[in-house]
């Protein structure tokens, strides 16, 4: 196994940089923001005629992006995950779902990466919403290299995508060999009968890596793509190994990946470490807010090594 790819950019910054680069050779790529793209967006600097800050108008942004897609453009829209997946949920259903519009929604601040900003800026429900809309490719990449690969794939596909990232945390992507991201990225095969950790998203993967370092017998499979079609492929691959699966995800239990894999792996034991039903009521940094929800290393180790 090769070393992990060294990262310098967070997921959302990697998205901005990669899209800006791709737009240099693809004149149909356009970038829409809803006032949360930050000042000095690199796409705006490089391609000002194709960058639009539409203001605080998430629903209008996604429906307008669909008009652009109908005209042949490849719109990438971005706003925080709670506003993309929940406030504009009906637009997602009608456009990415029913119309299969070639729109990519990039949603930073997923999970509780908004931390001390509070519940309005948390999103533990987006996978449940997006997974229930058929035809949408859902990705939660880990680290810069993987995020770039996912963005490249979205541009090339012309299909509806939802890409989930955290806030500003930086991670080193797991090696994928050829740079393409498949249904399963194996970090560690572990002992044959040991629990296989299945990691989802930035923090889920961080926790899995920490757990695997503490208990080397554990296996670790990382999933980047989380829509039903990709999870079917992942489940077929995971089913090749015996033992329990413990899914780690910064999301509610309901509508999450553990729930999906439990249905796709009948007869196999699938447990989960997730955000459960809690509502963080205190400040703190990202990891501290995760801790309020029981999303920490002790919880992962307890789940993975339970008798």
């Amino acid at each position: 196994m090769t070393a992990a790819t060294v990262s310098a950019l967070s997921g959302r910054d990697a998205y901005r940089d990669e899209l800006t680069r791709l737009a240099g050779t693809d004149p149909m790529v356009v970038c829409l923001e809803a006032d949360l793209g930050g000042k000095g967006h690199p796409f705006q600097a490089a391609h000002p005629d194709r960058f639009f800050n539409l203001g605080i108008a998430e629903g209008a942004m996604i429906d307008m992006a669909t008009g652009l897609a109908s005209a042949g453009y490849k719109p990438f829209v971005s706003t925080f995950a709670p506003f993309a997946a929940l406030r504009a949920a009906e637009s997602l259903k009608l456009t990415l779902g029913y119309l299969a519009a070639g729109v990519t929604v990039v949603a930073p601040y997923a999970g509780v990466s908004g931390a001390w900003f509070g519940t309005t800026h948390h999103c533990l429900e987006d996978l449940a919403v997006l997974r229930s809309i058929p035809g949408v490719t859902i990705a939660a990449p880990y680290g810069e290299a993987e995020t770039r690969a996912v963005v490249r794939a979205a541009v090339a596909s012309g299909r509806p995508h939802y890409i989930r990232t955290g806030r500003n945390a930086v991670f080193d992507s797991l090696p994928t060999g050829d740079g393409e991201v498949g249904p399963v990225t194996w970090d560690h095969r572990g002992e044959p009968d040991a629990t296989c950790l299945v990691s989802v998203g930035e923090e889920g993967t961080r926790l899995a890596l920490e757990a695997r370092a503490a208990r080397p017998e554990l296996a670790h499979a990382h999933l980047t793509y989380l829509d039903h079609a990709h999870l079917e492929l992942a489940a077929a691959e995971l089913a090749q190994r015996p033992g329990r699966f413990t899914v780690i995800e910064e999301h509610r239990r309901e509508g999450g990946v553990a729930e999906a894999l439990a249905l796709l792996l009948p007869g196999r034991e699938v447990t989960g470490v997730n955000a459960g039903h809690g509502w963080p009521t205190q400040g703190g940094d990202h990891h501290e807010v995760m801790g309020q929800l029981g999303l920490d290393l002790p919880a992962v180790l307890a789940a993975a090594t339970a008798p």
Binding site: L54, G55, L99
Partner: protein, 271 residues
């Protein structure tokens, strides 16, 4: 009110469009006589607007027309058929298994651009289309046709704010002001005084028209807005149930199911 400067409409075109409107109204009545019935009143109020807008789109300059008040699907299907966009007669197939003519517009129907019915969404879609034409330096309008009741949706005003800020002069929002909505009169439920002034305050050009004056509507939609920087709001005063005296102006015409004999009688009265 800021008026537009419309071109003159050829008399032969006006006569042709009027004939289409008569045919379309009869098709809508046929749909009301089908097993499902239909949203009759709003379909008849919006027909002339749709026929005039589809005429603009037929000129081939890249104009798209979106019926955002999707409950008037029967009117849209009829207008698409008489305008030559939809080949088959949708009336006997409306609401039927095996056919795409659902009670709110389905995108499998030729000419239907967006699955409207959940109100408000067709407006930003059309604005997005207008933005696409502008990015590409191409002519053509994005025309959204909304109901006056539909203006209660926040998404409409969210889009007005965006369209004005983006200076989408090729975006046209038409309001079919028939005064009715599902549960009664707009004026009773959520009145809209000074509507033109509201749009003007957002930064729109505005024009108020008789929504059944095909010549006037055709002229307004035919205006060259290539250099315009202010979106255009067309407030079209219409009559719910227009063309069928038995239901004209009646709130009860919102959704109607009739039998074949009544349909035949009503169709004979449409001129």
């Amino acid at each position: 009110m800021t008026d537009v400067l419309p071109p003159q409409v050829d008399h032969a075109v006006a006569v042709d469009l009027a004939a289409r409107a008569v045919e379309a109204r009869r098709l809508v009545v046929d749909m009301a006589a089908g097993p499902r019935g239909c949203h009759l009143g709003g379909s008849l109020s919006v027909l002339d607007i749709l026929i005039a807008a589809l005429h603009r789109a037929s000129l081939g300059d890249g104009t798209e027309v979106v019926l955002s008040k999707g409950h008037a699907a029967a009117g849209l299907y009829a207008a698409l058929h008489v305008s030559g966009v939809l080949a088959e007669n949708p009336a006997p197939l409306y609401g039927q298994l095996g056919h795409p003519y659902t009670g709110h517009p389905g995108p499998k129907v030729p000419g239907v651009r967006f699955p409207t019915g959940s109100l408000g969404h067709g407006v930003p879609y059309a604005a997005g289309w207008a933005l696409a034409r502008r990015i590409g330096g191409q002519p053509g309008l994005g025309i959204a046709v909304a109901g006056d009741g539909e203006l209660q949706e926040g998404l409409v005003w969210e889009t007005c704010q965006v369209a004005a800020a983006q200076r989408l002069g090729n975006f046209v929002l038409v309001v079919d002001r028939n005064g009715g909505q599902n549960d009664g009169l707009v004026a009773d439920i959520s009145p809209l005084p000074d509507l033109a002034a509201r749009f003007a305050a957002f930064g729109f050009d505005t024009v108020e028209v008789d929504g059944h004056d095909l010549a006037r509507l055709t002229a307004v939609f035919g205006a060259d807005r290539t250099g315009a920087e202010r979106p255009l709001a067309v407030i079209a005063d219409t009559v719910k149930g227009k063309g069928v005296p038995a239901v004209e102006g009646k709130a009860g015409s919102h959704y109607v199911t009739i039998d074949a004999a009544r349909a035949a009688k009503w169709k004979r009265m449409i001129r």
